[in-house]
Amino acid sequence: MADAGTGRQAGQVRQTGDPTNANLDRRDFLKTCAVAPIAGVMLYVVRVAAGEGDQRGAAYKATDHDYGMAVDISKCIGCGRCAEACQIENDVPHEGGYCRTWVGRYVTTIDSETIVQTIDKPKPAVDEKTILRTFFAPKLCNHCAKPPCVQVCPVGATFITQDGVVLVDKEYCIGCRYCIQACPYGARYLDPRSKTADKCTFCYHRVTRGLVPACVEVCPAGARIFGELHDRASPLARYLRFSKLQVLKPHLNTEPKVYYANLDGEVR
């Protein structure tokens, strides 16, 4: 263990004939023993501050990421925990039934009639014997790569970040509601408290800290998968590889980044 101060090895004795040197050396030795651990700790602190140690301290670079999501229709059990968690995490207004994410129940009967209802409403009154297919379909903002909402905002209050998340600048939005009209998926609403447009943010405040969105975190069935679109190894990559994927309303060419696996054609 090198002595950070004098460069001498601990315990090294000066090669002189001076009888008083022995005392000095012992003092030096003791000093070394005290200083070295402190120096070591200081070096560790310096390394951590430089970000080499703990990842949570590292600066977040948006250009290194491109986020997407997958939803597996065959897994959703319609429990609604996703909508509840989103409401808590993001302070979504209760009044007015606004949703950043919601789940729809689809029931197709033997007469080829499809009835749809959001899960917070009463179940459609359908005789179970006549049901052909039925399932749940979660919906949220698709964070399109070609977002029509961003295209129509007159002032630049909504935008797509470098990591592929479509956000709304509450301090700049004038509340004209054009983006809400332009969204084909009904993902946006006007927050009655701030009078600005609002929508799912992929829990941007969570994903930039290495967490997953709240809806993904609490889904008990694993129907929602979040991750990087261009990672070769991640749960999302596995989904994109193994599933037959669809997006909602592909004919509108909005290039949504929420991919549905096992999606039924009745879903709009």
């Binding site: 007015g96 039934g97 606004y98 949703c99 919601w102 729809g104 499809t114 009835i115 749809v116 209802q117 959001t118 919906k139 029509p148 295209q151 129509v152 905002c153 007159p154 002032v155 630049g156 209050a157 700049y172 939005c173 004038i174 509340g175 004209c176 509601r177 054009y178 809400i180 009209q181 332009a182 969204c183 084909p184 998926y185 009904g186 993902a187 946006r188 609403y189 006007l190 701030s194 009078k195 600005t196 509108l252 709009r268």
Partner: protein, 401 residues
């Protein structure tokens, strides 16, 4: 609500105020096009309405941004449209098109047309109005023949530039709706064109009504040649407007895309009265038939000749019906586009509020405000004399009504 709507769609986003805005800018564009008929296309008969049409356009244009400001969540931030406009957004063009039209087209044209009178009035008037007129001349008091010729030429050029500007002023509103691919009721190439022609229809009808009303108030004979001409142009414009609307309607039914089921359900249930009854039957077909029959549009003879006094009354009724019809057109586009779900599986209802900023009374006030402004403008800038041309010699009998 029936069927299924996305949770965020149940409440309408754009309501009565946004119905008002295209209606008002439509009147502006239409009144200006009428004025340009006289100035550029030399339709002498409508000369008595030239200045009146310009003032009408100005009065409505001044009120036009008010419904938008009232509707915004943050009207205090509205200036952001001028500072950081998103050039890909049709709505961002509002600031520039409006400013251009107001300042470069309308105000300038009025200024050039009235300048000679302003100079004269600034010498003759007393008190506050004298200062007002002096200010309005901007110090350009040269009334030499050369300067007056310049005024006439400049006015003509501005009117020529103003015609496409008027098209743009109202056309971009149609584009705001027509370019929304998410909404199958709005997403149509025809919407900007239909908006434009219905604007021309409503503008001509508005000037007709204001002209007759102003003659009444001033106890002056209505110039029947002028009124007949207005009626003819109203008829032509209505024909084109109706053809375009029918084209859109027929195309939708024929192509029968996925949205046809829910849109048909909407038209036959939620929009039956406002679309089938008020817009099509009473607002377009009835005035069209009536005008076709009584208006001397075909070689100065009507199919059914009607004495002038009755012709005048029928024109007024037709113009009123047209206004109702055009207002309903705006209503059906704006409100109709939000009554059905983008999931194409459900319909909701529009609850018209009476009070509050988005309510009935505020909208009524915003519709009457331009008339009040017009009264003030008429007082300040009387449009009864001709600005740039001597009155056209007219048949004495034709003047009687």
């Amino acid at each position: 609500m029936t069927g299924y709507m996305y949770p965020n769609e149940i409440e309408l986003q754009w309501s009565l105020l946004i119905v008002l805005y295209p209606y008002i800018t439509g009147l502006v564009a239409g009144a200006f096009i009428l004025a340009s008929l006289e100035r550029v296309f030399n339709v002498r008969e409508v000369q008595p309405t030239y200045r009146l049409a310009l003032l009408t356009a100005l009065a409505f244009l001044l009120v036009a941004p008010l419904p938008l400001l009232a509707h915004l969540g943050h009207p205090g931030r509205s200036f952001e449209i001028f500072l950081t406009p998103n050039v890909r957004s049709a709505m961002a063009m509002f600031g520039f098109i409006y400013a251009w039209y107001l300042m470069v087209v309308l105000l300038l044209e009025i200024w050039f047309d009235y300048r000679q009178d302003l100079v004269e009035w600034s010498t003759k008037a007393k008190g506050l109005t004298r200062w007002f007129y002096r200010l309005m001349t901007l110090g350009a008091t040269d009334v030499s023949p050369r300067a007056l010729r310049f005024d006439a030429t400049a006015g003509r050029i501005i009117t020529i530039v103003g015609i496409p500007s008027a098209f743009l002023l109202h056309g971009y509103v149609g584009f705001i709706f027509g370019s929304v691919k998410a909404n199958p009721w709005w997403n149509s190439v025809l919407i900007p064109v239909v908006f434009l022609f219905s604007a021309i229809v409503s503008g001509i009808a508005a000037v007709l009504l204001i002209y007759v009303a102003s003659c009444r108030i001033r106890r002056v004979q209505v110039d029947m040649l002028c009124l007949d001409k207005l009626g003819s142009f109203l008829f032509y414009a209505l024909t084109v407007d109706f053809s375009l609307e029918m084209l859109d309607f027929i195309h939708r039914l024929y192509a029968a895309e996925e949205s046809i089921k829910i849109l048909s359900a909407m038209v036959t249930s939620r929009l039956f009265i406002s679309l089938v009854v008020l817009q099509v039957l009473l607002g377009t077909l009835l005035p069209l038939l009536v005008l076709a029959v009584i208006s001397p549009a075909f070689e100065r003879r009507a199919i059914v000749p009607v004495p002038p006094a009755w012709r005048r009354r029928i024109f007024v009724v037709a113009a009123l019906l047209v206004q109702v019809g055009i207002f309903c057109t705006r209503w059906n586009v704006v409100i109709g586009g939000q009554l059905f779900s983008k999931s194409l599986r459900g319909l909701t209802v529009f609850k018209l509020q009476m009070y509050g900023l988005e309510g009935f009374w505020v909208s009524l006030a915003l519709l009457l405000l331009p008339l009040a402004i017009l009264v003030v403008l008429i007082r300040l800038l009387p449009p009864w004399t001709n600005g740039h041309a001597a009155p056209a010699p007219l048949n004495a009998e034709a003047r009687l009504s």
